[in-house]
């Protein structure tokens, strides 16, 4: 393999590259969704695929989410590997019945005879000034549905690696794309894109001794920034990027919390019934004797996603994270 110098690439470019490579490697990989063909998707993630692979491989479907996912189920039954694009998080809900009743159960109810290798790409989360229905964090719904893998990249390398892994998986995967990271750039070497952890593994993005920030997707960058800022106050924060919500990597998360003794879970989606509650409970159950303070959550408010003019008040930012970190001095206070 020739070594190509790492150049800045956006997450959207890495996703496109992952789709293109997967389609080139396996003729069974088909992309379908609304506007994915000629337009290349509203975020341009499928740009050029219809031109390169033809409209049978990258198909503009009628405007119907249940139909898109439902027909993809049938395509997977016949041995194809469909990758469907749901245009926005909140527009995937019409397809939710297919997710819950069929996508996640086909393997189970046929006793393993009919696995469904399909990938459901969902652009999710806020921070891009979208109007209503364009900024939902829907991960808790998918996490609560057995039979799905739920992954979400926070880096350009992961966007490529996790999407390739999702398409290669013999199980259905909900691939959550943090919208506000589409245009974020990392140095990325497209010639060695496979050097990411496999699905199901979390990664320590920054090591530290005094507390662990547990996060994923859109909130990783915010947590990294908070960790830098916390140094001034004498906190040496570790940051864990979950990458995969299902399966959940208890091992990496708990190893970190046992080292630091304190943890804050950070995500954009609402707190009540959200991913943070599950994560905090798991950490508490497994690390209780190592904990110096309760596991805290910094999350979006429990409100419908606010309008663009107010979303900055909703999204967990550096200050809110630092505030929680301050509250981790539990022992001293109580």
């Amino acid at each position: 393999m020739t070594t190509v110098a790492a150049k800045p690439a956006t997450m959207a470019q890495a996703l496109t590259r992952a789709l293109r490579d997967a389609m080139a490697a396996d003729p069974g990989v088909h992309v379908l969704g609304e506007d994915v063909g000629t337009l290349g998707g509203v975020f341009r993630v499928t740009d050029g695929l219809a031109a390169e692979f033809g409209e049978d491989r990258c198909t503009d479907t009628p405007l119907a989410e249940a139909g898109i996912l439902g027909t993809a189920v049938g395509m997977a039954m016949y041995g194809l590997r469909p990758v469907v694009e749901m245009q926005f998080d909140a527009f995937a809900y019409p397809a939710f019945e297919q997710v819950v009743s069929h996508v996640t159960k086909m393997r189970n109810r046929t006793r393993g005879k009919m696995p469904l290798p399909l990938t459901i790409r969902v652009p999710y989360g806020g921070g891009i000034g979208g109007v209503e229905h364009h900024s939902d964090s829907s991960e808790a719904y998918y996490m609560a549905t057995p039979g799905l893998h739920v992954v979400t990249p926070a880096t350009v390398a992961d966007a490529y690696g996790l999407l390739r892994a999702s398409i290669a998986s013999d199980d259905p995967v909900v691939f959550l794309e943090p919208k506000r990271l589409y245009w974020s750039k990392d140095a990325w070497n497209p010639e060695e894109p496979a050097s990411v952890e496999p699905m199901g593994r979390a990664v320590v993005r920054r090591s530290g001794r005094s507390a662990t920030l547990i996060t994923y997707g859109p909130s990783l960058a915010v947590c990294m920034e908070a960790a830098e800022a916390a140094r001034a106050e004498g906190w040496d924060l570790e940051v864990v990027d979950l990458r995969s919500l299902v399966p959940f990597d208890d091992e990496t998360v708990c190893a970190s919390v046992r080292r630091t003794g304190r943890a804050v879970v950070v995500h954009e989606s609402g707190s009540f019934g959200g991913p943070g509650g599950e994560i905090a409970a798991r950490v508490t159950e497994r690390c209780f004797h190592h904990l110096e303070a309760p596991v805290l959550r910094v999350a979006g408010f429990d409100i419908p996603y606010p309008p663009p003019m107010l979303e900055r008040h909703h999204l967990p930012g550096v200050d809110r994270i630092l505030d929680a970190v301050g509250r981790l001095q539990w022992e001293a206070e109580s």
Binding site: H30, D56, T61, P62, A64, A66, G67, L69, G70, T71, A72, V73, G74, M75, A76, M77, Y78, G79, L80, P82, P94, E97, Q98, S101, H102, M106, R107, N108, R109, T110, R111, G112, K113, M114, P115, P146, G147, H149, S169, D170, D171, G200, V246, P247, F248, D249, D250, E251
Partner: protein, 388 residues
């Protein structure tokens, strides 16, 4: 003076000429359901086919009775009988080739069995087991679908995929009259028509969705009329006339296989039994209505045709019934054996590889089962053992 005249100089530019994209006339269903039995069309019917249909209908009727009896004995958790609808079930399945696929709903056990699935396996879900019982690939039968109409887009996707791969496979998707109100019905028909997917949609209009009659379900002139709006042909057929169902379905299958795209067939029939064994049909319909339909019974219609034409006599009828009795006795005997379920298998097919979380939970259940076995062993005074 009108407003237009006031404006004086206003000259609207004519819009571009409008053309319908498809002539709706050939897509429209007949005014009356198509019939073969007792009409001139019967002269053209293949007598061997009629005999086969008859034998299958008699078996199907007996299967429904036996399965209903098994619910009373607690051997089946539930059974949605298709008594009265056997012609739709069986004639439709027989219109398919071996390489074709069937997408059944929960009431379509007879169609499933007609595809060659073991009658006991076809009842696995209804028995209260956790899986669908049969291997879908063995006879190309999708799992029975309990949510209404959700299996229809699967049929479209599979047929579409088969065509992309160059296989001339047709998918037959079955749905009830109530199911046609679901969004998935609409989405499936629309996708199929746009993609010209080789799919045949068969609506068994049996008059009711549990208790709700057709006139509260739709205001359409017929369910077959719905096809026109999607740009596919709609056909209306007497669902109690096995020969007619077979002919119409065969036409639609041929049309699909030849690249003509999907067809929507409405078979007009009646659900003679209650919705399931758990339903009380007297709350929403009278005996007189049921009686009218009993006089238009699919088995009797075919029996009369065959007898009148000298193709069936008393011996033939007796032979068909004896054959059905043998099938029923076998079904009874095999259903009376307690199925052996392994609770630990519940964890095996959620993912290709169980997640760490599922492994933990499987270990937990394994420990609970071992403890249960030990307690049971202690109580019966038997030596300790059991699953570990």
């Amino acid at each position: 003076m009108t407003v237009m005249e006031q404006r004086g100089a206003y000259r609207p530019t004519p819009p571009p000429a409008w053309q319908p994209r498809t002539d709706p006339a050939p897509l429209l269903p007949d005014a009356e359901p198509y019939r073969v039995l007792g009409t001139k069309a019967a002269d053209r019917a293949d007598t061997e086919l009629l005999r086969t249909l008859y034998a299958r209908l008699v078996r199907g009727r007996r299967y429904n009775a036996q399965a209903t009896a098994l619910t009373k004995q607690g051997r089946l958790a539930v059974y949605p009988s298709s008594t009265g609808q056997e012609a739709c079930e069986i004639a439709a399945a027989l219109a398919l080739e071996e390489r074709d696929w069937l997408f059944p709903s929960y009431r379509d056990t007879l169609a499933v069995v007609s595809r060659g699935v073991d009658p006991v396996e076809a009842l696995t879900l209804l028995r209260g087991d956790w899986h669908t019982g049969y291997d879908p690939y063995e006879h190309r039968v999708a799992p029975l679908s309990t949510p209404l109409a959700t299996q229809l887009p699967h049929a479209v996707g599979l047929a579409h995929a088969a065509r992309l791969k160059g296989d001339d496979v047709v998918a037959l998707a079955m749905v009830g009259d109530g199911g046609t109100s679901e969004g998935d019905f609409h989405e499936a028909l629309n996708f199929a028509a746009v993609w010209r997917a080789p799919v045949v949609f068969l609506v068994q209009n049996n008059g009711f969705a549990i208790s709700v009659p057709l006139d509260k379900q739709t205001a359409a002139p017929s369910l077959a009329h719905k096809a026109v709006g999607y740009g596919m042909p709609g056909r209306l057929v007497d669902g109690n006339d096995a020969a007619a169902v077979h002919e119409v379905l065969s036409d639609a299958v041929r049309h699909a296989r030849a690249g003509g795209g999907p067809t929507l067939v409405e078979a007009v029939t009646y659900r003679v039994d209650a919705h399931t064994n758990a339903d009380d049909a007297t709350r929403y319909r009278g005996d007189a209505e049921v009686e009218t339909w009993r006089r238009h019974d699919p088995v009797e219609l075919l029996e009369r045709e065959l007898t009148e034409r000298g193709l069936l006599d008393e011996d033939g009828i007796r032979a068909a019934r004896e054959d059905a009795e043998t099938m029923a006795a076998d079904l009874r005997a095999r259903m009376n054996q307690d199925p052996e379920l392994d609770p630990l298998e519940l964890f095996d097919h959620v993912y290709a590889e169980p997640t760490p979380q599922l492994r933990e939970q499987r270990d937990q259940l394994r420990a609970e089962l071992a403890a249960e076995a030990e307690t049971a062993a202690r109580q019966t005074g038997a030596p300790e053992g059991g699953r570990r």
